[in-house]
Symmetry: C2
Subunit: 158 residues, 2 copies
């Protein structure tokens, strides 16, 4: 990530009706400052052998970057938070309440509240994103610790 010298070009004219409402500039009061995070700079926490977690915390959602080494297992489990799983590298096998499939880049699984699910690799690596809404309660302490680490790193660069 680096600063850019570019200026944002003017918005296109002739917007679609949907685009005009999508890109409105009228609204309310910001809920807080935005922030940038470089996930590669976070230290993964190994929740189980070969299963590394790097959560990035919002207020209403969390994105947890999860790496599976070959032979790693996220045991079948349930939770109240909704989850959307997005594979971005490699592959793993996903068990969505008994519907077991190999997921690769471009594959997404939508896991509503309390739907049982699990995942594992055999001889492949996998990098995937777990989106949680609301943020997964069991990861809040970890996410807050990593956010503090990330903020300290950013301060150290200034």
């Amino acid at each position: 990530m680096s600063d850019a010298a570019h200026q944002q070009p003017a918005a296109e004219d002739g917007s679609l009706g949907d685009a005009a409402s999508h890109f409105t500039t009228e609204g309310g009061t910001p809920a807080g400052p935005g922030r940038y995070v470089n996930v590669d700079a976070l230290t993964p926490v190994e929740f189980l052998p070969g299963l590394g977690f790097r959560p990035v915390l919002g207020q209403k959602a969390m994105t947890n970057f999860v790496s599976f080494e070959p032979g790693a297992v996220a045991p079948r489990h349930v939770h109240e938070e909704e989850q959307i799983v997005v594979v971005i590298e490699g592959e793993f096998t996903f068990d969505l309440d008994g519907d077991v499939r190999v997921m690769r880049k471009g594959d997404v699984a939508v896991v509503p509240s309390w739907v049982p699910h699990g995942a594992w690799t055999t001889d492949t690596h996998c990098l995937e994103i777990d989106v949680f809404s609301p943020p997964r309660s069991s990861l809040l302490k970890l996410a807050e610790a990593q956010a503090a680490e990330s903020a300290a790193d950013a301060a150290g660069e200034e």
Copy 2:
């Protein structure tokens, strides 16, 4: 995505305390069926020239897979929904309330409610995921139409 013949291995013993609570199997009633989506099978909708949207809708969150061709612009805008931006291919320039940076794979931006932001490419392609919580209202009709298309494709394959 394909069916897998593997069976899930037994969960490891000796779990970390955090892992034990994270992977609990006790809970409530599922909020609905889970589903798989192959994003590459969705037809992108071009909201503005060179800007393709493929939303995947949950109940509490939405992941919108956004492709920027070179020279595409998402004009600076605001909205109530929280947004987390994850770049997965290529690069684009992101304006987070005036903090303008080039984002590449591994870079994330957390955009709280009503914080102004925009993005654009110059001579590069970019594929990124916009996570919205709650789901972005201006994309609901599009997401529902694509979900119906995806379900119809899945039925056609059976």
